[in-house]
Symmetry: C2
Subunit: 311 residues, 2 copies
Amino acid sequence: MTKEALLNTKERISPLIHRTPVLSSTQLNKIARTSIFFKCENFQKMGAFKMRGAANAILNLSDKQKENGVVTHSSGNFAQAVSLAAQMNGIKANIVMPSTAPKVKQEAVKGYGGLITICPPTIRDREAAAIKIVQETGATFLHPSNDLDVILGNGTAAMELLEDQPDLNYILTPVGGGGLVAGTALTAHYFGDNCKTIGGEPFVVDDAYRSLLSGKIESNESTDTIADGLRTNLGDINFPIIQKHVEEIIRVTEEEIIAAMRLIWERLKIIVEPSCAVPFAAVLKEKSKFQEKKIGIIISGGNVDLGKLPF
Amino acid sequence: MTKEALLNTKERISPLIHRTPVLSSTQLNKIARTSIFFKCENFQKMGAFKMRGAANAILNLSDKQKENGVVTHSSGNFAQAVSLAAQMNGIKANIVMPSTAPKVKQEAVKGYGGLITICPPTIRDREAAAIKIVQETGATFLHPSNDLDVILGNGTAAMELLEDQPDLNYILTPVGGGGLVAGTALTAHYFGDNCKTIGGEPFVVDDAYRSLLSGKIESNESTDTIADGLRTNLGDINFPIIQKHVEEIIRVTEEEIIAAMRLIWERLKIIVEPSCAVPFAAVLKEKSKFQEKKIGIIISGGNVDLGKLPF
């Protein structure tokens, strides 16, 4: 049933999204001593895979729900994705953003017609602001990662990747709220040929790593990572999927993330967010595990504030 | 005959090069009020269109010439291209580089097996060092831009672009030594449907602009532009082609180059050199000329020193 849901999702969202290219680099493969296929969701509409989940969630609204609009909270990419997908369907989008969200992302949300409410940068404040909008306007709340429609939408990136490269041994994604790794894991399970899903996570915000160990959803004491998309926690809908279908979560340091990001910029000549460099950093860290394997990496997004680069 | 030479060149070099993708962006088209198709030679082998000309020049060497190796002087990209094309054919490559060449480019030359000789950063010093190597080793000198094989090789980027988008009204390229704009202009003339070629040049090094006005090859008093690939002058082989087939050269300021580069990075999510931003800056500057037209821009390369970004 999940397999069919993924196929239906892929067909449903196809008019709203790009089929993104898959890039590889002889030189990066030499450095990593493996074969890596980068699924470039930085070239997706609005610049990130989040467009897939947002498009699916919005297309699945009832007519009544569409009338009242939607609301979400997001550090940036999901906010842009909901704004654009809503705009493409003539729906009003209310966006709660933390005051720390990069300026380039706030401007993009406005450019896609989203109505921004700024809140303090904690999950609790975000949720409170979103609930207030739901109560006042009757808008439907869309969660950036803990929503089955969003998870299935996110899974379509890996579906396209497996169509291009059917014999991948592993697909790696960054792990933030868990929506991308969960959707990818479902896809790898149903459409891969014994393809395993692995998550990459910064040490500083290793809540998902600890959640898999403890068996319950853990949170982070600090959010001080350059990978600004990965500061959030797992949720009760994506966590069971992750427990069942994700083989492992590999943790990397901030220095490893920055070095991996720089390598991708220099060698692939593409702009990627720090978050996307996390799974590549994981491959570089665990070279022996991945040696001579065929690996897919979901490059999750390319919305970077060029005024604040780490190099 | 030139048409046939271009067709033969394209076939000859095809095993040594990538067919690069053509990207476009709804948002950039809105900003420029036109339709722009970016031919992404930043994704070319070694990261620039120069691979095309170098490959053609090296494949056209006699067996005797191949034995003695090649020598060139270059601020960077042609050096890498000659090194890689020579390495792919088992030929020795001597590279004279100015002491100002970005470190990332020097390292890349070494990585492709090129033997570097550093010289002071003037054209005269470069040429003297190259001549010395020719005299000592019998190596064949390859000029980065004033060589018909190089010009024809460079022209194959526009051939691919016109295959993808046959009805372009204009193709724009940056103008440095003149090898890219000359090759592109030949291609547009023989393969375009009334397609005109326009060059983009920084005001600070507007030697080509002045050369077209005066009818003789002019040089620059300063080389103080961020577009480090465009500091050189035209040559006696490419200048007549440019006079005959290039419609116009549009000059842009350093600020316009940096702003255009930033827009490409932010919107297309690709790494491009400052030089490649020059033609896009020209389109933004002359909006009324290009309004509602269909434009190709050759994104010439993506080898940037990330430690020295202008933003």
